[in-house]
């Protein structure tokens, strides 16, 4: 089953396939209306994107499974090769999306006993409609931007997580997204609710093979962090270099809550992604540690947004960009300390490493502090690889290429050390392949 091109008819078709309730179809149609009204962002990378050629929905026959053996052998092999099946043993639960639909979902029994919900958004809409309705589209509105509106119209798949109050998970939950067809668009919708006094670490992985036609990934992620709760969302996107990765990620943080985005951008043709924290509750805090690596024709436009509303709120943005061989890795971020956010503090630190003269790294910071009782610190550096450092490593017999690699990995050490061990290893492999 495949749906190509964007029209009201196609949106109704997707909704039909999913046997959705009326409120969901209404949301889709309203989003489509907004999509038609909104313009593409007037900043960031330039690329060609013909919305009529994108495949908006594609399903496999299999349906949702909790046993790898029940999946199509080819798909099974693909995920085994990617190391996804193997990584499950480190996790509390895992979801896998292939094209438009979530095909695999499994979670440890002990989490079920704790009443943790980890399933696809479609299942959640059917089984927990009240919970979904309370938060869905409230943190990222479908009027937010053209791509969020597009997601609202055609979303399919994505994870739904609910962590009940007073619950801590020992191991992360993970979702893995895979695009396999050329011209395919993936529009997953993730909704995470960490209720009061709870703790979650969520990990997201993604890949796609390379085709000559562009694929589109336009996801929306909404996260609610309750009082005294903490959520960490780690992702390393490694989309193929033909994927346009245009994603809206935002968290709403209540009193004493903490949100941490650990966000790595290595793949894709162009990425526009600025994970945001809305620090609504007093004493809440937000962190975003982001790296982007751009090579050849890649354009990484990434950063973070921190909106301070509550009193005594703190935020930290650490951004590391690496540009080489004509790549463009830029930081775009916003810190906005509202008048109400007295005694707040924000730190922004952007470092970029430009490896040759064909490459580019710009910074577009917007820092606004609307109260004299709070402050923002901003620090930025641009550097090349130091000759002294290179000479020192080489004086011990390390070839130049390898020495450069060590220095680059060192440059993003602050990011690597935040990743769980097995992802840090995977990241090293990815970077070594890309550098």
């Amino acid at each position: 089953m495949e749906v190509v091109g964007l029209s009201e008819e196609n949106i109704r078709k997707i909704s039909d396939i999913k046997h959705e309730e009326q409120w969901i179809l209404d949301y889709r149609l309203k989003s489509f209306e907004l999509f038609n009204k909104l313009d593409m962002p007037n900043f960031g990378p330039k690329f060609d994107l013909d919305f009529d050629k994108v495949i908006y929905y594609k399903s496999s026959e299999a349906g949702l499974n909790n046993d790898w053996k029940n999946l199509d052998t080819n798909i099974q092999c693909e995920f085994r090769d990617l190391g996804v099946i193997d990584s499950e043993k480190y996790l509390g639960g895992m979801g896998v999306q292939y094209e438009s639909e979530v095909i695999y979902h499994n979670m440890l029994e002990e989490l079920e006993k704790k009443n943790v919900i980890f399933t696809s958004i479609e299942v959640a809409m059917k089984e927990y409609p009240d919970l979904v309705k309370k938060y869905f589209g409230k943190i990222v509105s479908n009027a937010d931007n053209k791509l969020a509106a597009l997601n609202g119209a055609v979303f399919s798949g994505g994870s739904f997580i609910y962590i009940p109050p007073n619950t801590t998970l020992d191991r992360p939950l993970q979702s893995y997204f895979r695009i396999n067809s050329r011209g395919m668009g993936q529009f997953e919708r993730t909704l995470i609710i960490v209720d009061d006094n709870s703790d979650l670490h969520y990990v997201e992985g993604c890949t796609a093979p390379t085709y000559s036609d562009s694929s589109l990934h336009a996801a929306v992620v909404e996260i609610y962090v309750g009082k005294n709760s903490k959520c960490r969302y780690s992702t390393v996107q490694n989309w193929a270099t033909n994927v346009l990765n245009l994603v809206t990620k935002r968290a709403l943080v209540e009193e004493n809550g903490t949100m941490e985005w650990i966000d790595g951008n290595i793949g894709s043709k162009a990425t526009m992604k600025y994970p945001a924290c809305i620090l609504k509750g007093d004493n809440s805090s937000g962190t975003c540690i982001t790296i982007s690596v751009a090579t050849h024709e890649q354009q990484q436009d990434s950063g973070a947004r921190m909106i301070h509303i509550g009193k005594n709120t703190t935020s930290t943005i650490i951004s590391k960009s690496i540009a080489r061989l004509g790549g463009n890795a830029s930081y775009r971020g916003k810190v906005d300390i509202k008048e109400s956010a007295i005694n707040s503090k924000a730190i922004v630190k952007c470092d970029s490493l430009i490896l040759d003269k064909d490459s580019k790294s710009d910074a577009y910071p917007t820092n606004v502090c609307r109260t004299s009782k709070s402050n923002i610190e901003h620090e930025a550096t641009v550097s090349r690889i130091s000759e002294d450092n290179l000479f020192y490593l080489m004086s011990r017999g390390i070839p130049e290429e390898k020495a450069t690699e060590l220095i680059i990995l060192g440059f993003i050490e602050r990011f690597r050390e935040e990743l769980p061990m097995e992802y840090a290893v995977e990241l090293n492999q990815l970077l070594k392949r890309n550098l």
Partner: protein, 252 residues
């Protein structure tokens, strides 16, 4: 065996080494002494093929083969190790990862992680090099003495056949200096064919690692060569007394 013959080196317009000659056979320990800015530290960087220096004429041979024009890493892998005067720090690059990479650059098959960790911990402990610094970024937050110990730790793990110790004693207190020199002497005992070139201002270090040959270097060339005792003559009488060549060299 290292042979340097008629070496002339410049930085930009400035002459740094001036018809420099030196022969060091396997297992010999030599010391070069000289005032500041006489080109002593330049010599070690030139031997390592640092691109900031231009060799105008002359040759440097290691075991009979010229190493001029080779890349720094290639020269290091042929067996030359320089313990630098002011070892730099590199944020984010873990010391153990760095040393392991350097060891593996010399091997067909990568060293086993367990073997490596066992080795590095044992050698660090002999040198009184703090164990937690093994896994920290290279020399970040390290004192001068810790940096020097780190150099010697690398030396012992990389097993060079030709060692240059550039102002080893600067930054080291007397106890640390003894520890470090004990380490080097032990290494030399276990590797008797290894040659050493000590570059120093003061003869103190020569009491711990005793050279058979002492050279006095002034204005980019060796002006006098003698035995161990020359070092103490120089200390007594100063460099200016025997300075025979007038040139306007400044600090390196």
């Amino acid at each position: 065996m290292l042979n340097i013959k008629g070496l002339n080196v410049v930085v930009g317009e400035k002459k740094i080494l001036n018809d420099f000659n030196l022969d060091i056979k396997d297992g010999e320990i030599h010391a070069i002494m000289g005032p500041n800015g006489t080109g002593k530290s330049t010599l070690s960087k030139v031997i390592l093929g640092n691109k900031n220096y231009t060799v105008k004429s002359g040759d440097i041979k290691l075991d009979g083969k010229s190493i001029l024009g080779l890349s720094t890493d290639e020269i290091a892998r042929r067996g030359i190790f320089v313990s630098f005067q002011n070892p730099i720090s590199i944020e984010g690059v873990q010391n153990s990862e760095f040393i392991k990479t350097a060891i593996n650059a010399r091997r067909e098959n990568a060293i086993g992680l367990f073997e490596f960790i066992k080795d590095i911990k044992a050698k660090a402990s002999e040198l009184d090099f703090p164990e937690e610094m093994i896994h920290r970024s290279i020399n970040v937050g390290a004192s001068g003495g810790e940096r020097k110990k780190n150099e010697v730790l690398q030396l012992e793990l990389l097993e060079p056949s030709f060692i240059i110790l550039d102002e080893l004693d600067s930054g080291l207190d007397i106890d640390s200096l003894r520890k470090v020199c004990d380490g080097i002497n032990k290494y030399l005992k276990e590797h008797p064919k290894t040659s050493v070139l000590i570059i120093t201002h003061y003869p103190r270090i020569l009491e711990y690692i005793k050279p058979g040959f002492v050279h006095m270097m002034v204005c980019g060339k060796i002006v006098k060569t003698g035995g161990y005792d020359l070092a103490f003559d120089i200390e007594k009488r100063g460099y200016s007394d025997t300075s025979v060549i007038g040139s306007d060299s400044k600090d390196e």
